[in-house]
C-alpha cells in the first residue's frame, strides 16, 4: 500500500469537489431537504401516534442515519462514475496502482463526501426541531460506522458491476439503495413486514442498526447484540464485495471492458 498514491487519487476527487460550487451544493442540498421534509413528517407523527409519543426525534434520527448510508453508497459510486464520464478510466488503470490502493482512496474520499453533507444536516435538526441526534451517545458512532461500512460495501458491489459490465450498469448504481430500503426497516419495526420479507430483512445489517437506534431513543435500552450482529453481517458482505471486485477486475481484463470504458 502506498500512501502517496492513495493521497494522489484522493486529491483528484478533492480538487473536483472544491472547484465546483454546484457539486458542494449538491452534497449539502439533498441531505438538508431530506432532513427538513422528514422533520415535519416526524413532528406530525409525534402528535398523532402513540408509538412516537415519547420520542419525537426517532424518525428524524433514522432519516439522518439512512441518508448517511445513502450518501456513502452513492458517493462511492459517483467517484467511480466520474472516472468513466470524464474518460479518465484508462489513465487510472494504467497507473501503477494496486486495486487495494484504489479502493482505499475511494473509501476515504466517499467518507469525506458523506460528512460534508451530514454535518450541516445534524446541525440543522437542533434549531429547527429541538432534536439532537447526539442523544444516541457513544452508540451513535457505532451505528454510523456500521452504516458507513455497509454503504461502502454496496458501493464496491456496484463498482464491481461497472467494471464487469461497463457503463450500462450505471442505472443499477442509482437504484440499489431504493431496492434495499423497504427491507432495511428504517422507519418502522421489522414486525411491520410480511414474514417472508422479514426473513430477507434479517440477512441485512440495516435491520439491526435501525432497531438499535429505536431501542435507544424509545426505550432508552442498549442491545450490544444488535450492534454485534450488524457488524458481523457487515464484515461478511464487505469481504464478499472485495472478492467480487477483484473477480470483476480480472473478468474485465479478459473481456476488454477496461479498454473500452467511457467510449
Amino acid at each position: 500500500m502506498s500512501l502517496t498514491r492513495i493521497y494522489g487519487l484522493f486529491l483528484r476527487h478533492f480538487y473536483l469537489i472544491t472547484r465546483s460550487f454546484p457539486r458542494i451544493l449538491d452534497l449539502v442540498y439533498w441531505p438538508t431537504i431530506q432532513i427538513t421534509l422528514w422533520g415535519f413528517i416526524s413532528n406530525f407523527f409525534a402528535t398523532h401516534t402513540t408509538y412516537y409519543n415519547n420520542a419525537v426525534g426517532v424518525i428524524l434520527t433514522c432519516a439522518i442515519l439512512y441518508d448517511f448510508l445513502f450518501r456513502t453508497s452513492i458517493g462511492f459510486n459517483m467517484l467511480f462514475l466520474e472516472e468513466i464520464w470524464s474518460r479518465n478510466f484508462t489513465n487510472l488503470f494504467i497507473a501503477p496502482m494496486k486495486i487495494g490502493e484504489i479502493l482505499t482512496s475511494l473509501v476515504l474520499t466517499a467518507l469525506i463526501r458523506s460528512l460534508i453533507g451530514l454535518v450541516p444536516a445534524i446541525l440543522l435538526t437542533s434549531p429547527l426541531f429541538g432534536i439532537s441526534i447526539l442523544e444516541l451517545g457513544i452508540f451513535l458512532f457505532f451505528l454510523f460506522l456500521s452504516l458507513y461500512i455497509f454503504g461502502i460495501t454496496l458501493g464496491i458491489l456496484v463498482s464491481s458491476g461497472l467494471l464487469r459490465f461497463g457503463p450500462s450498469f450505471e442505472n443499477i448504481a442509482w437504484s440499489t439503495m431504493f431496492l434495499l430500503a423497504p427491507f432495511g426497516c428504517i422507519y418502522y419495526p421489522i414486525d411491520t413486514l410480511p414474514e417472508v420479507f422479514q426473513k430477507i430483512a434479517y440477512l441485512l445489517p440495516l435491520v439491526y442498526i435501525f432497531e438499535e437506534a429505536r431501542n435507544i431513543l424509545i426505550y432508552q435500552t442498549v442491545s450490544v447484540e444488535n450492534i454485534y450482529i450488524a457488524f458481523s453481517w457487515n464484515l461478511f458482505y464487505f469481504i464478499i464485495s472485495i472478492v467480487l471486485f477483484y473477480y470483476s477486475f480480472s473478468a474485465a481484463k479478459n473481456k476488454g471492458t477496461l479498454i473500452n470504458m467511457g467510449e
Binding site: R87, T90, N254, G256, I259
Partner: protein, 245 residues
Amino acid sequence: MKNLIEVQNIKKNYGNKEAVKGISFCVQENEILGLLGPNGSGKTTTIGMLLGLLKPSSGNIFINNLKLEENRIQILEMINFISPYIELPKKLTVKQNLYVYSKLYKVKNIKERIEYLSEKLRITELLESITGELSSGQKNRVSLAKALINEPKVLLLDEPTASLDPEVGDFVRTFLEEYKKEKKISILLASHNMNEVTRLCKSVLMMKNGIIIDKGKPEDLMNKHGRKNLEEVFLKLSRSENEFN
C-alpha cells in the same frame, strides 16, 4: 541494443472471436516501432495487452525483461500511454492533473518535473487553465506531459496527432523525436498517418485480421511492394484478400 518490449506469440480471444492470433515482435531501446493496420486489425487489443488492461489468452509479454503478468505494478511504473480516446479529468486545472498523476506515479521532485515538461511542451501558460476548456492541440500537449510525467522507458502512442493541425502535429512529432533521442526510450506508435510513421519509425509492423502480415523498414517495404510511399503500401496490404493470411 537491449529489447525494452518483447512480445512472444500473444493471442487474444473474445469468446469464439480471435482478435489477435499469435503475434511476436520486439522494440529496442531508442527505437520507434510503427504499428499499422486497418480498423479492427488488432492494434488496440495489442496495445491493451501491453498496458495490462487486457489479459492475453496465451503468450508472454516482457517489458524491460520483466514478465508483465507477474510484475504489473513494477512495469506500469516505467511505461505510459497517450490516446485521443482517453482524457484527463476536465474540471481540474492542468497543474492539478499533472500533480495528481505525479502522485499516482510517485514522482520525486514533482515541481521540477512539471516545470521541465511544461517548458518543453509549451504549456507553462496553461497550467492554471481548466483542462476541459483547452483546444485539441493544447489538450494533446497536456496529455503528452501526463504521459511523460513518470519518465517512462516505454511509451505507447495511439494516434498521438489525430485531429491536430499541421503545426501542432509537427511540433509533437519533433518533440517525440528529440525526447526519444535524449532519453533513449522505446516507443510503439499506432497511427493511420503514414507520413508520420515514415518520418518517425525505424521499422513498422503491418497487422491485418489479428496477425502481422508484413514488417520492415518503411523504405524496404516500399521497395518490396513497388510503391512510392507507405500509404500505398498500406492500401495494397489492407485491400489484399488472403494474400498474406
